[in-house]
Symmetry: C2
Subunit: 189 residues, 2 copies
């Protein structure tokens, strides 16, 4: 029984104890240590994950070996290679742990099952997906229109916790700016 | 009665005639001419729109007057300032018509109503939102990791129609590359 998951779902919909217990049975707990991989490139992706504790990063590595950060996930965030997860395809990303993590996993089949069995869960994930869409649109706007300085300030304001838990090299890869530029900015801010 | 909307919804869920008729009643038709605005910056956004015919762009203008393209929308796409729409807030974007358009509008209240009345519609929009999320993640990856040349090639492959209907200046603003760079690329490709 995950109190964190229940609290997270109930920010959007209310559930009875029986409803939550049934939903909860479709999730499995998973522990990984810092540096371990949750998903590796080219694997079939069957699960998405809710983070109870810890921090992860999803990265894409280009042909030259350069790494780009697609997303972070910390407490109460969801993570997967969502394209591969939804489309039953192979991952193009690596997802690894920046800290020891405790996760809840749910398979695509079980996600569809709990959504189809309980209209409230379908609503919950519709709303969560719309929040996710909005957040990505903001990130695109930020990548297109802001200077490295503005981008770093936006990131620090939006995710004050992350700035403390993640190295400067990794933040730079997320923001699409060089490590050197970020160092200059973080001294000033 | 919009055959286009029904066909679009039924790509994901099947509806009876009565169900579709009831859903359809929550949409209103809207016509705008090329160059007209659908949403202007700083307006409250009450509707999202399904495109039956035509082409639109959503743009963000920075303090220096430079314009960035957040999204396009053509036949069978949805468009709005989604952040403002979902959060009942003011638009930060301008949405204008690149061609004469025919749209179906639905208010936030009616969207929630049809989703809550009909589980299939909640499912439809959950799935649509997940597709939207995936598409934006791909765009972020492209902005972070690809050269202007690769980005233009991806765009041309992904949206062959759009390349024919939109000016080079506008495509450049969407891809975050200069008009001059794009001109060099489009001659070569």
């Amino acid at each position: 029984m995950s109190a964190e998951l229940r609290k997270h779902i109930e920010e959007i919909v209310s559930l009875t104890d029986d409803e939550f217990e049934h939903i909860n049975e479709h999730f499995k707990i998973k522990h990984l240590k810092k540096h371990q991989y949750l998903i590796q490139e080219d694997e079939h992706v069957k699960y998405m994950y809710f983070v109870i504790k810890g921090l992860l990063k999803a990265t894409f590595t280009d042909v030259n070996g350069k790494e780009y950060i697609i997303q972070f996930a910390m407490e109460n965030w969801w993570i997967s290679d969502f394209k591969a997860f939804y489309q039953n395809a192979k991952s193009i990303t690596n997802i690894s742990c920046l800290e020891n993590v405790e996760l809840l996993s749910i398979s695509r089949e079980n996600l569809n099952k709990i959504c189809s069995e309980n209209h409230k869960m379908e609503h919950f994930f519709r709303v969560k997906n719309s929040y996710g869409y909005i957040a990505l649109q903001q990130r695109i706007l930020s990548l297109l229109s802001t200077s490295p300085k503005e981008r770093f300030e936006q990131f620090s304001n939006q995710y004050p916790q992350l700035g403390q838990r993640v190295s400067k090299t990794i933040i730079a890869a997320y923001l699409g700016i060089s490590r050197e530029t970020l160092s200059r900015l973080s001294v000033k801010v």
